[in-house]
Symmetry: C2
Subunit: 982 residues, 2 copies
């Protein structure tokens, strides 16, 4: 093999088994070459051997506690000074608290000293130990036997090692009181001390949860004593993990024991060695080695492997005092293990230490945007639907049985509130947009009906149907279209609904859902941005409108209040008489009210005055005080408060749960607060209108496009691999039901519903199952989702019942809803990569965030791409503002065409990073890739692989703007610095 | 010595000079002990020898560039792949841009490989080189001579090494066009390409500024070639730094050259070695070694020293892919050097590797809060003043000559705008508080007068006099006191001013300024918080007041506008007649206007109506529309906009200069914007009033206390060591002039002025001299301040001239100023540690920021301390709200008493971290310290020193609230996470 070839090229042969320090020795010039073939090192071979033995039995997780010997006069005791579950937590001596978990920064020096310790000290493997005194005896015996200490020290060492252990947060109360007395004479201290202790117990229990149930402990004991003249080192592995009294802070049995006692004066150094072994013990690979080591040399090999993988920071570029926060993600030890195993197969070659920091600079390729086999084109009539049903039927029972779990209750409540907020907001806006042809009550009814049916029968019951932004915009445009062309809105809507249903069914029958693959980030973002801009501009328009509707008297001088009035002046007599006979009496009550000729004109309201033909005279008539300004305050206040509450989620105040509750319900809280303010002020602001009458009532293709895109993109996001769904999805079945519900809703005069991304993801999030324990500083592991139909059904039944909320709704002022509207537009822009790229125009290059696409695509190409998107949007916007408004769903197809043309302007490599590759390009791309690779192979020492990402990033779709803007799957390429991680 | 004693305790003696790898060898058990005595290692001794030789000549800074060999078919070229000034910047291949500067994360592996390279390769020191071909010849000759390569490879190696070099941003235009053509057919690309190139040139010039003028370059060349079967390594130091054609990106002469060529297949590994040597070359200590090395072994010793100091991150706890941002501060290499030198003196003992990460966990003791010899008590009459004058006289000439610098212009403009903003804001508020006894015009005049005199004659001309919060509050309280006790305000003020002046002079004469030492953070914060709260509560009160002043008609229905009116009804005839004779005619014009009996009552304004005894009748009379709400919008808008603009300073958008301009002028921008909005709306909002008449006009102790504290605390902050002032300060002289100006201003009826902290610091900041070049990612070095009187004088002359701004001022609505008022209160709270501690009450322990006092003081003690402060403040607040308000300066003395009593409640250790130690405690503290140390010495292996800070932190004083809230000295212990670094 190549390996042996290069080896034989060496001038002198390696020293063989004696080469324990192979990597650091300086024996021969050929050594350098050998060096880069890490897999040849004896340490690695040793490890491969011992780790390969029985890989099927995973070793327990280790909890490591480090205690240091404290002298208090003659008294000695072991005091906990740090602990490791995965990251280091240090006892802040003065602060009497645990530090935040942080990455252990070690000195290389201490690691080498540790290595020497293990080499020279006593190593007792598989010691039969049942109590600490017995273990200590064994250790001391061994030391004496090996001649490491004189027998006269036996007693002294044992005495020291058996001193009592004091743990942080396990201090007897009387001690803490005494402690306090030293510096504190105030009477408040006792109570605070007591309070503190109970608090500690609670914290301790909390901490136990962070340690896996099967965990074992390793204890590190470090101390300076005066009777030794050289260090006393022992590494012990017990045959059975044993609870050794108060040795460990938590009731976890001890498996390993590391003891280092030494003469006075080098405490810092010993301490560093202790931190080094403790860090090693919690290293995934080394702990495996420690469990399986057969002798001292195995341990040494483990240290060497660790040394070979450590990351080194230069002393002049980093301050060791800085505690490094745990990273979001750490590389798994499996990689390191697999390197050891793969060596055998000779598969790792050439790259040598590529796993190290340097090689690690390579960008991890984005996870493929897989759509799963459910979206394969079957070619048969209803093939996809049939497969969906077949896939779903076996789960019917468990779909209900799995719903019975305590977590479901909170999920139902949470999602219910989200649905209600959505129904009110979208219902209110829809009513506003359609002159109350549809309104809040329809919204409630429709949500309940559609949601229940879908959750009961749909393919993916975790999806929540709701009104969404695009549908709202479409209804608005449709209504305006009808009004300007004097077409009956509800009738047209009914026909559209029916046709659209039919088209959906055709799409289902023909497996058309598979074409979703052709919608790339470019199209999605164009669509989404357009909707966002419409939201924002509409909200602002409405607000400006209220200044026109309630004009402010800008020349008003408080002092001249006496001159402001508005009087109703009777028309001249003749006109009044004419009016008496000619004006049609629309109002039945009118005749009851007055005899026209006998009217007291000055008592008439403005409307009445106009109705009876009176003239309004005066400088106050055309002004309305206060309402415009209070509307503005309500509008802007709602918006700002929602934004602030959302941000509150990531603040430091209050426990996480409390914060996320506030953050999740930011919209409903803001609405409530500003409704309250409005109510207290009592001003006659425009209010939400609703009616109780359900009105029973051929651009259907437009709706179909909209429905299809909105539904399927949301479904793709819900069904993403990251969510670890086990019951499979049913795109065709979903679309089938959406189509049917479309028809039903159209008949009933209810709004149309499709899958709402954000609220669906919130549903999934609230049903997430996570691993119970995760080390402090580590992210908990996500296991899967409780997939069932019960929570969804309950949510919608509750929504249906909420129709009785109606009387409360009249207190909601419209400006508040406009504020929410504005928020939704702005918030949904914030999650779009397109928006991030627009912002890049304003940032000097050095301040730009480290987006991965910026690492791989030249800035001018990025800007050009963004510019194309901006132009597309400008065109869309212009079209939208003309008569062509109603056909805007078709424009989305236009976007897809533009995207296709962009293949000519941009390389596939750039597009892969900025967008997705179009599926037809698969073959071409492969060719490109090959060419590139050929090209590349001739290059030497390429510092960073510039291979194009195998498949694009999952798109950060935020198209269907839900009111509840809840956590969505984070997109690795889009990490706007200012956006709080929702 | 102790060192030798422990050495002789070893069982076997060390191997002596042959021990090149001492720290990694495993020869003897005693080695472990030896290990911890780093100063004994031969590497260290070697370094001490070569570095000690001529320490007076500093070596140039090194710029390192790494080029890798690229193959493009048959063509080969060297392409720049990374560069180091201090931190690493990498070429993002795809992105065609430089990465952000980051800390180089290396593999330990690559460092050892590098070590082997240096050991086995050719090392050519002090090579006489004038051109690259000649140098390459010499290298190849040496390699052939040493038998490292065969002579047949001579040509090939030379050929490769002489290939042309391509640098990032130095690409010929035709190349970039061709490059672009590959992926781009759009017509826009050419222009963007050209644009890009010019941009590059600009960026290159910018980059040159980052490299010190005397810098030299080290070039690292890394390549894979097919004709070698083992690596070709050479390390070259030229006798003279020489510019070698296009070898280096920037025109910096090359001193070092590292070449590594090797067989194909291990490019990644070579690359890592290249990064390792590049990182070493920019290490301060290693670069010294490289310059002074006499042979190969010196270099190896340098690497060993580096290895000994590196910081190690465990592979399981850190992801090497993460690029680590440069830290704010890196430990200086002097520490490492001094360790090497001190060894000789045997002073570093016991702690061994304490400098490493573990030992480094120790909190750095806060910088002593030194007040300088200027505040020593001389004991002589006017002793301090005399010394101040003596200290200042020699600088008189340079005080003016040093002012002639381009930087002065921007400083003058900047500070002038700050002064104007201050004068307007405080003047407006003062006018509001004193019913315009004092107003904006007085403020302008006074600022100009006092400032000019002070800058001309004061001890510290960098101090800017201005109205400050405490003075404003005092004037307000004084005015209210006068009004309620019917005392003539201006007269009282004059007497207070004169007495206060006298008292100031007495304080000056008696060197009383030294007592400023007794004012600790506790007192300062109490004072400052009280003022802040008064600001906030007053601003809100004013705002609420405007709702009362302009009541909103809450039952107004737009439709019933016809029923709202307010009419002036003539009093009954008899009353009118009575009025005609009895009412004193205050208004001279009145008789001209009307004959009372012939009045058209309906035409009268509200005021006239009331004046002539008419009755106002109607439901509109008591309401004023819109004004309250628009006032609220202006108020809140100004506040929010100021906050946002301040935050904008730390955003990523726009170049830094532009942002800091916006941030610095946030207040004036907000005022202008909202004045503009107000003007456009045209509503009759309450406006700033001012008058042109200067009114020429024995709680003086109160003012004196206030003046004294405000002035001297500001002066202490200005004179802090961090500002590196060279001309000394003059506390007594300063106070002298403040006292004199006090009397003058009182006579002239002008406001009183003292030093304004924030604006003075802004003054210093704008006159800062910084080192011209600082490595990318590194903070520029601060050299000193242009100390002179010219800028200050110019600022105040300009302010005086600005009195002609008067006509513009009437457009400023009061709510806008209230908004600024609110901002000032809130902003000044944000910088106070007390406020940070209050916020801790709301944070769960694990979310609390890593304040250093939290590391050293138990949380319950911190909370208790905060509670005491809260209670004190509550008491102060209550007193302030009663009749005792006027004596509030005395309360500050009360705070000092409370602080004194707290010595009984808290240990000196806790107080040192939370507050400052009182000076009288010096001796007691020493005793305490000793006791602690004795106690400590008996402890072994103390993991972290808990010595109390030698001296407390410099207080983050923000007492005198200036309008311009500019950068103040950062306090290491208070780093609120949300507060943008101003």
């Amino acid at each position: 093999s190549e390996i042996w070839a290069s080896r034989s090229a060496c001038l002198s042969s390696p020293t063989g088994h004696g080469r324990q320090f192979n990597i650091y020795s300086t024996l021969a010039p050929c050594h350098f070459i050998e060096m880069t073939w890490k897999q040849l090192s004896p340490a690695a071979e040793r490890l491969r051997y011992i780790l390969g033995e029985d890989d099927d039995m995973p070793t327990p997780t280790l909890f490591t506690e480090m205690d240091t010997l404290q002298h208090d006069g003659d008294e000695m005791e072991w005091k906990e000074s740090a602990r490791w579950v995965k990251f280091e937590e240090k006892v802040e001596e003065g602060g009497e608290r645990w530090s935040k978990p942080h990455v252990s920064t070690l000195t290389l020096h201490s690691l080498f000293e540790l290595r020497t310790c293990i080499q020279t000290g006593s190593v007792l493997l598989d010691l039969e130990g049942y109590s600490l005194p017995q273990i200590v005896d064994d250790i001391v015996d061994r030391q004496v036997a090996d001649g490491l200490i004189g027998p006269e020290l036996r007693e002294k060492v044992s005495f020291v090692l058996l001193r009592k252990h004091r743990h942080q947060h396990k201090k007897p109360i009387h001690l803490s009181l005494a402690d306090m007395g030293k510096s504190n004479n105030s009477p408040t201290s006792e109570s605070s001390g007591l309070h503190h202790s109970t608090e500690d117990l609670r914290m301790k229990n909390k901490f136990m949860k962070k340690i896996p149930r099967d965990a074992e402990a390793s204890n590190v004991l470090i101390g300076e004593v005066d009777f030794l003249d050289k260090p006393f080192v022992a590494f012990v592995r017990l045959a059975q993990a044993t609870t050794l009294g108060g040795l460990t802070e938590v009731p976890v049995p001890t498996r390993f024991l590391f003891v280092l006692l030494g003469p006075h004066g080098k405490g810092k150094s010993y301490n560093e060695i202790g931190r080094a072994i403790a860090t090693l013990m919690v290293d995934d690979l080394f702990s495996d080695v420690a469990y399986k080591a057969r002798d001292r040399d195995d341990l040494i090999a483990g240290i060497d492997e660790f040394l070979d993988e450590v990351i080194v920071l230069p002393p002049g570029e980093w301050d060791p005092k800085i505690r490094i926060e745990p990273p979001k993600k750490v590389p798994s030890a499996d990689m390191r293990k697999s390197v050891l195993n793969l060596n055998e197969l000779g598969q790792v070659n050439g790259t040598g230490t590529a796993g190290g920091p340097g090689g690690g600079e390579d960008e991890e390729m984005p996870i493929p945007h897989e759509l799963g086999e459910e979206l394969q084109f079957t070619g048969r009539f209803c093939g996809g639907l049939w497969l969906d049903i077949k896939r779903k039927v076996p789960w019917i029972l468990s779909d209900f049985s799995q719903g019975f779990h305590i977590q479901s209750i909170s999920a139902v409540l949470f999602i219910y509130l989200g649905c209600i907020t959505n129904a009110i907001t979208f219902g209110g806006l829809l009513g506003d947009a359609t002159d109350n042809y549809q309104g809040v009550m329809e919204s409630f009814l429709g949500t309940a009906l559609a949601g229940t049916v879908f959750c009961l029968l749909g393919g993916q019951p975790l999806i929540i149907l709701s009104s969404t932004g695009p549908i709202l915009i479409f209804e608005k445009l449709l209504y305006e279209f009808c009004k300007s062309n004097t077409i009956d809105y509800m009738e047209l809507r009914l026909w559209i609904g029916l046709h659209s249903c039919l088209q959906c069914l055709i799409l289902v029958a023909t497996d058309a859902s598979y074409i979703i693959k052709y919608i790339t980030r470019f199209t999605e973002e164009g669509f989404s941005s357009l909707i966002s801009f419409i939201f924002i501009s509409d909200a602002i328009k409405k607000m400006v409108g209220s200044f026109k509707y309630y004009p402010i008297n800008r020349v008003f001088k408080p002092d001249y209040v006496t001159t402001y009035r508005c009087e109703c002046i009777a028309p001249d007599q003749a006109a009044a008489m004419a009016f008496n006979v000619s004006v049609p009496l629309a109002d039945d009550n009118m005749t009851d009210l007055y005899n026209i000729t006998g009217l007291d004109w000055s008592q008439l309201s403005k409307k009445e005055c106009v109705k009876y033909g009176g003239a309004l005279l005066g400088n106050a008539c055309k002004y309305v005080p206060d309402l415009a300004l209070i509307s503005f305050i309500l509008f802007f206040g709602t918006y700002s408060m929602t934004v602030s509450l959302k941000k509150f989620k990531t603040s430091r105040y209050f426990p996480t749960k409390c914060r996320s509750l506030v953050g999740d319900f930011s919209i409903i809280i803001s609405i409530l607060v500003f409704c309250g303010i409005d109510y207290l002020l009592g001003l006659d602001t425009p209010k939400l209108l609703h009616k109780y009458v359900c009105v029973f009532a051929v651009p259907a293709l437009l709706v179909t496009i909209l429905i299809f895109m909105d539904q399927q993109i949301s479904a793709v996001i819900v069904n993403r691999k990251e969510n670890k769904l086990k019951k499979g999805c049913g795109y065709h079945l979903d679309l089938f039901w959406v189509g049917i519900l479309m028809a039903v809703c159209s008949f009933l005069g209810l709004p149309w519903y499709v899958a709402a991304t954000v609220i669906s993801i919130a549903h999934i999030d609230s049903l997430k199952m996570e691993s119970e324990s995760s080390a402090p500083g580590e992210q908990p592991q996500f296991l899967g989702v409780r997939e069932q139909r019960l929570t969804g059904i309950l949510v919608f039944v509750l929504t249906g019942v909420s129709i009785f909320l109606a009387p409360v709704l009249q207190y909601i002022p419209m400006p508040v809803l406009y504020g929410v509207f504005l928020y939704m537009g702005v918030a949904s822009l914030a999650g779009i990569q397109f928006w991030e790229r627009i912002k890049l125009y304003l940032m000097p290059a050095k301040h730009q965030p480290d987006f991965s696409f910026l690492r791989h695509v030249p800035l001018r190409r990025v800007h050009l791409f963004t510019l194309v998107q901006i132009i597309c949007l400008a065109v869309l916007w212009t079209l939208k503002s003309t008569v062509a408004a109603i056909i805007f769903p078709v424009m989305i197809l236009g976007l897809m065409v533009v995207r296709k043309m962009m293949d000519l302007m941009f390389s596939q490599h750039d597009l892969a990073w900025l967008d997705d590759i179009l599926p037809e390009k698969d073959k071409k791309k492969e060719k490109d890739g090959k060419k590139k690779k050929d090209h590349k192979r001739t290059k030497a020492a390429e510092p960073e692989s510039d291979e194009e990402p195998k498949s694009p990033l999952p798109p950060p779709v935020k198209i269907p703007m839900d009111t509840i803007d809840l956590p969505s799957a984070p997109d690795p390429s889009v990490t706007p610095p200012t956006q709080p991680p929702v």
